[in-house]
Amino acid sequence: MDVLQLLVSGLANGCVYGLVAMGFVLIYKATEAVNFAQGDFMMLGAFICLGLTNPQFMGLPFWVSVPVAIAIMGVFGYALDLVVLRRMSGQSQIAVIILTIALGFVLRFVAGLIWGHEPISLASPIAGKDIRLGGVVLGMDEIMVIGVTLAMTIALYFYFNRTKLGVAMQASSQNQLAAYYMGIPVKRIQSLIWALAGMVAAVAGILFASKGSIDPSIGLLGIKSFAAAVIGGFGSLPGALLGGVIVGLIEPFASRYIAAGYAQIMPYLLLFVILIFRPHGILAQVHQKKV
């Protein structure tokens, strides 16, 4: 009984991690950059939706503010690439990592300035509602998180593997110059991918906010999601979700069956084990350079 509830709440948490992890993977697959600010994107998306919905701010209806928030984050992602990341073309991966870490600092500050540092709850219509199945009480919010995440993963997976634009996005990461010569508009595609990552982050943020209160520091959740992405196999969308779910489940069970202090460190210990045995992640994407 108890175990089932633990399972569902772990699964719901894991789905949020998975969605953020998918943001990493999207950008990595298409531009080979790693967006360490993806967690802060999620935070920003959550706060934008909250700012539109909550009565003390704009007070719009929830179902209006959700698409608006997603759209705003899409524009934000596109603009960010246009203004900042496009200049990074050809620089090393680590430079991009450092840039996005710094960007995270700035985003957290801006969010704190606008919405304050106190935890706030999103006025979501599904918050606090339950579903009863037999003797089990499941949160409506948790069910929705799981459902939406599954739908998103499937949609993104097909988009990347079946549509022309999706394949073009992958091609442009392997060799920009070659992709450019093949008539792929590399720059615009990169901006689009950042927009997409921003939108996915907004969805993750709204789902996260509907489960509990938020403050600007939730962006640091991105680090855990990053670990999840690596555990599942960087470069694979279903892998990212899988990693997220593993991390989401391992936390509550570790704190339940080992000791409370271990919940935090289990995901990272798992990460270490995986990195030691598969230095390039479960689904290896790194190949030996040809000489």
Binding site: Y28, T31, E32, V34, V84, R87, M88, S89, G90, Q91, S92, Q93, I94, A95, I97, I98, L99, I101, A102, L103, G104, F105, V106, R108, F109, V110, G112, H117, S173, Q174, N175, Q176, L177, Y180, P216, L220, I223, F226, A227, V230, F234, G261, Q264, I265, Y268, L269, L271, F272, L275, I276, P279, H280, G281, Q285, V286, H287, Q288, K289, K290, V291
Partner: protein, 366 residues
């Protein structure tokens, strides 16, 4: 620009390129020695802090700039050095003069051990691996409460060397001079690495592992050595941070510190000792600079001083973004350009250091 005529191999091997360069650095050292007579106690304390940061930055620079292995987890080694130093003094009763180098050694060994699995990773994976290390450090300190006193923290005793006490408030001048001496020693070791086969094997690994290997460089072992020396130097800085702060706990060595350290070496300019000092100066002096400008702003606006949480990190982040976009070589790169401008005056051309346009090719091939 100065042309140096080399008449012996020693011209390449010596510490300084030419006599004038040596004189400049001697002048700098003299200036550093005279600072206590010029600065107020508070300012001297800030300078001491800057020197400690410089040691930490040099430690990380050796790994990131020289060997090309980015680490987002160096706060772990600061913590190892700090706790080892204090615990050796408190539990085993060792004097500072023994516990300090031992703390560096312990941190170094820890680094070399961790390097074995870590250095098989590349790029993104190395970044996330070391980041996980930083997060685990925080939690491990709490889990090891019997030893580390967990969230309650530990007090660092005053440094005692042969009966002389070194305290930040009691005798700030002595503490400053002690740390200056340690800094100079670390700089010398760093220079020695740069000019010896060890430093060249580091650079070889940074630029091409495959051909380093073909030259007979044992890549795994050399990376472990780089990690070890880097962690050792960082551990020394950690020990000094403990003494400087007086009290520390798990929060002192959180993830943000690790990230800040990496950001500092990037802002400073990768691959140079100058860069380590420039980066340290930014990190160490930024909080004060922000406080001062906030006070000024408060006076001008007529209001009181307003505390804005996260401002420091945000300003730091903004500076960093600006540097990566406009001057990827860091402060050292800018300084180098300005110096060249004056040396060549009036023949400096704007495009002299123009970057070549480059395209991304997959880094998944190694």
């Amino acid at each position: 620009m100065r042309t140096v005529f080399k008449t012996s191999y020693d011209a390449d091997i010596d510490l300084f390129k030419h006599g004038a360069q040596r004189n400049w650095y001697i002048l700098l050292l003299v200036a550093a020695l005279l600072l206590p007579f010029v600065l107020s106690e508070f300012a001297l304390g800030e300078m001491t802090n800057l020197l400690i940061w410089s040691i930490a930055c040099m430690g990380l620079m050796l790994l990131v700039g020289q060997t090309g292995q980015p680490s987002l987890g160096h706060a772990a080694f600061l913590a190892v050095g700090c706790y080892a130093n204090v615990l050796l003094q408190e539990r085993l009763g060792l004097p500072f003069i023994l516990s300090f180098p031992l703390a560096g050694l312990i941190a170094g060994v820890a680094g070399a051990l961790i390097a074995r699995p870590m250095t098989r990773l590349h790029g993104v994976y190395l970044a996330i691996g070391t980041l996980a290390l930083a997060i685990l450090t925080d939690d491990l300190i709490v889990l090891a409460t019997p030893l580390t006193n967990g969230v309650m923290g530990l007090f660092a005793p005053d440094i005692q060397i042969f009966g002389y006490g070194f305290n930040r408030y009691g005798n700030p001048i002595r503490l400053y001079l002690l740390i200056l001496a340690i800094t100079v020693a670390v700089v010398l070791v760093y220079r020695n690495i740069q000019r010896s086969p060890l430093g060249r094997s580091f650079a070889a690994i940074r630029d091409s592992e495959i051909s380093a290997q073909a030259m007979g460089v044992n890549v795994a072992r050399t990376k472990a050595i780089a990690f070890g020396i880097s962690a050792g130097i960082t551990g020394l800085a950690g020990a000094l941070i403990g003494h400087y702060a007086g009290i520390f706990n798990n929060e002192t060595f959180n993830v943000i510190l690790s990230i800040q350290l990496l950001l500092a070496v990037v802002i400073g300019g990768l691959g140079t000792i100058h860069g380590a000092f420039f980066g340290a100066a930014v990190v160490a002096l930024l909080p004060q600079a922000i406080a001062i400008s906030r006070d000024l702003l408060g006076k001008v606006m007529g209001g009181g001083t307003i505390a804005i949480p996260g401002l420091e990190a945000a300003v730091f982040g903004a500076i960093l973004i600006a540097f990566i976009l406009f001057e990827p070589q860091g402060i050292y790169g800018r300084w180098f350009k300005i110096r060249t401008f004056f040396e060549l005056f009036p023949f400096y051309r704007r495009d002299m250091f123009r970057r070549q346009k480059s395209y991304l090719k997959t880094e998944r091939m190694r």
